[in-house]
């Protein structure tokens, strides 16, 4: 790697350029969620005779989701810290823990959604529910995507160990995971807490 090759950018910079781009990607994703939030805020009282958030939201359920995701954000950070110790085993272990927590979060969310649908509160019931399912569902889809990504990364780490490329990938994934938790904070506040107020 260390041979003197001129590329216009030094080769070590390659990975840092990718991390910089990922920040910009996150900013555009923030705006994507902002638009969904705006829609939710505008439509949140449009019950159209359907159920209200107070009737629908299950406090223990969303509190559990919140703490599970927060913990997984923490463990994904611990996974990234293993990069400094050069410990592939520790890294994979923490990633697996993060992934399991992510799956648990998704399980709770799917359970919540199915319960609502069984009670007759579907995406077609009212504009409020359309906005709710789409906002929370888009977040859930991001989590699902992150889990698929995590799986691919674990396989690559097992095969290749810690290299500049895999460690960049770990950093980017943990950024993404923290970002998903940050979005959830606002879903927790704007959707659930204000909903049950």
């Amino acid at each position: 790697m260390a041979h003197a090759v001129e590329t216009g950018v030094k080769h070590e910079d390659h990975e840092s350029i990718k991390i910089a781009g990922f920040w910009i990607f996150l900013v555009q994703d923030v705006l994507l969620f902002a638009t969904l939030f705006a829609t939710y805020v505008v439509l949140r009282n449009h019950y159209a005779g359907g159920p209200t958030p107070k009737e629908l939201f299950d406090v223990p359920g969303f509190v559990a989701e919140t703490f599970i995701l927060l913990t997984s954000s923490f463990t994904s950070g611990l996974a990234a810290l293993q990069l400094n110790k050069k410990s592939v085993g520790g890294l994979i272990t923490w990633l697996v823990i993060t992934g399991v927590l992510g799956l648990a979060f998704l399980g709770f969310e799917i359970n919540e959604f199915t319960n609502m649908v069984q009670e007759g509160a579907t995406i077609s019931t009212s504009a409020f529910l359309s906005a709710f399912f789409t906002l929370v569902g888009t977040h859930g889809a991001h989590v699902t995507l992150g889990l698929g990504w995590m799986l691919g990364l674990i396989i690559q780490l097992a095969r290749r160990g810690i290299t500049p490329v895999t460690s960049r990938k770990v950093s980017v994934l943990s950024l993404y995971w923290h970002f998903l938790d940050a979005v959830w904070i606002f879903i927790f506040t704007v959707v659930y807490l204000i909903g049950v107020m």
Partner: protein, 104 residues
């Protein structure tokens, strides 16, 4: 690969633990005040929104290590600009669409 410094992941176990604990506290407080109706609804909304923003900032600093990226801090600039646009999207839409509640 000889240059270990450039690959160092920012942060330490301590910073993650601090961030995690603060986040837990900032989750429990709004939950508590909402479930107990500690204030009127209007004040509650302000309180929990401030808590959310604080927690967001804590995660940016302690989990995402926004201050420790390389110079210049384009990502801080990008996020600042992003927040302005978020404000335009959410507050703008809410303001513009209030006409609906008057019309209906």
């Amino acid at each position: 690969m000889h240059d270990d410094h450039s690959e160092k992941h920012p942060g330490s176990t301590v910073s993650y633990v601090i961030g995690f604990l603060l986040s837990i506290v900032l989750t429990i407080i709004p939950l508590y005040v909402v479930l107990n109706h500690s204030f009127s609804n209007m004040i509650l909304v302000y309180v929990i929104m401030i808590m959310a923003v604080l927690q967001f900032l804590i995660q940016l600093v302690f989990f995402m290590h926004i201050r420790e990226s390389e110079e210049p801090h384009y990502n801080i600039l990008a996020i600042a600009l992003g927040i302005i646009f978020v404000f335009a999207i959410v507050a703008g839409s809410a303001w513009i669409m209030t006409f609906n509640s008057q019309v209906q």
